[in-house]
Symmetry: C2
Subunit: 292 residues, 2 copies
């Protein structure tokens, strides 16, 4: 997906938020905004938003000297999400369509995104997600939720690549992965995280902390982009990416970087901003499960 003009004010918002989370003073925050302004005119709109986000988060790291500004937030997200793991399991137990419920929970976990949203209300957000789960958030299917098509692709696939998004969210992903493993114990499931810090995206340590290591093979994309920017990915990742029978791509960053791909990808996300919603054709807040 190309970068839209409406992404530009948002880049400045993200730069400011990252600068603040890195804990630097106001004059350094301003320096980061000015540096963002300096690189902006050099950035081609044909590139995807995560490419600009990658540039911004790299300059935040360079100027602040903080390698992983979101580390504490990621750890908190993991802890909070793990704290409700048993409640998620209860929801699964009461489900009449377990794969659907697992998809919905995995999508709901995508609400926890500190690149787009503010930080303080994780608990409240989680409560809201769980409250929402009293009814099916997708109402069993919509034009933007290709459930039957996904189930069919899932049943046929041998190797499944799961592209993770944020820390915390991966506990919700774990529910979906466990459900897939339960239904299809012979399928090979590979869980891909980022190689280096990229906003609050999950790294290897997050995946291990959230128990993914016990249910799937964990690899890294080889890159520090908040999304899956293929030119920055490692050869070993690309080999798996190109040969997987089914790719489950979580979140906006992965959608923005991969949408239009020729691989067999299903994008599972909540459309969190108007740009994405307009691009898909859905409403902001919609739960989306789409293939290209």
């Amino acid at each position: 997906m190309k970068t839209y003009l409406d992404c530009i004010p948002c880049f400045f918002k993200q730069a400011l938020q990252a600068a603040r989370i890195a804990g630097v003073d106001e004059s350094t925050q301003l320096l980061i905004l000015n540096e963002t302004a300096r690189v902006l005119p050099e950035f081609p709109l044909e590139s995807t938003p995560p490419e600009m986000a990658r540039i911004i988060y790299k300059l935040v790291t360079r100027i602040t000297g903080v390698d992983d500004p979101y580390r504490i937030i990621k750890e908190r997200s993991n802890r909070l999400a793990l704290g409700i793991y048993n409640r998620l399991i209860d929801i699964m137990t009461n489900s009449r369509d377990r794969i659907l419920t697992a998809l919905e929970l995995a999508a709901a976990g995508n609400i926890i995104d500190f690149g787009v949203k503010n930080i303080p209300d994780i608990n409240e957000e989680l409560e809201k997600i769980l409250a929402d789960k009293t009814k099916s958030i997708t109402n069993g299917g919509s034009a933007f939720f290709e459930y039957e098509k996904f189930k069919s692709a899932l049943s046929r696939a041998n190797t499944i690549l799961y592209l993770a998004d944020n820390a915390g969210e991966i506990v919700f992903d774990r529910i979906l992965i466990e459900e897939i493993q339960k239904n299809y114990p012979d399928k090979k499931l590979i869980f891909a995280v980022k190689e280096k810090p990229a906003i609050n995206d999950a790294l290897l340590k997050d995946a291990l902390d959230c128990g993914i290591g016990e249910i799937a093979e964990i690899i890294s994309s080889g890159s520090d982009a908040p999304g899956t920017l293929l030119p920055y990915c490692s050869q070993s990742f690309l080999k798996i990416f190109k040969s997987a029978d089914l790719i489950i791509s979580k979140g906006q960053g992965n959608y923005e970087s991969l949408s239009g791909s020729e691989q067999p990808i299903f994008y599972l996300l909540i459309a969190k901003c108007e740009v994405i919603a307009d691009h898909i054709g859905c409403q902001t807040g919609d739960v989306v499960l789409l293939s290209d």
Copy 2:
């Protein structure tokens, strides 16, 4: 009020909105965003937000060649607001505290602000304002609504300077001015608009179209700033500004540029963004009537 770092993403939003309203193509819109990025590092944060807004709207005019991008929107706002003038009068007729209701209506008119909000829902906005008027939006007073202090200042003042904000909104201002005139027929009331286009701020023609000419003397600030930036105002305006016994300052732009002034100013506005709300100490959406 100084410019906060959170104003910076908003400057880009405003630049993009103005570029789109001026009707230029996407590459020109991008040029305007890049030019905004170019001037940003030169802008001192000690300056007020309307000073940066003035720079941005001037560059929009320079690049697009459109002198008054918001002209059609302003005319539409005036027309729509005049269309409900009689309903506003009905609300006044049913009021038990007419000055309070007139203040509330004048504040409610401040919702119509295309510098901050999107355009298409004027009618809906107006309906919402009128619906809100079934109850007092200020509940008769709060820490941010200095009603008694205002009434006392009003009764003592001989010359009142009314600093207008947006087109359309000035119909709501007219209600307040008419009420003041009715209670105090001997007071001199001067209504100040902008000299040249500044977002959707009211100009002389707007004031005349909305019937202000029949109830008050109309002057201009002498400037094209979306606010009241004294260094850009005319000598004749400054003379009145400095000698008025009471100044009623409408909207965020005037508050941002004058807050902290030594003149006897009451700011009447709705706090539309978090920056303003935090600066005042109130909540976003609060109706505010404050003196320095």
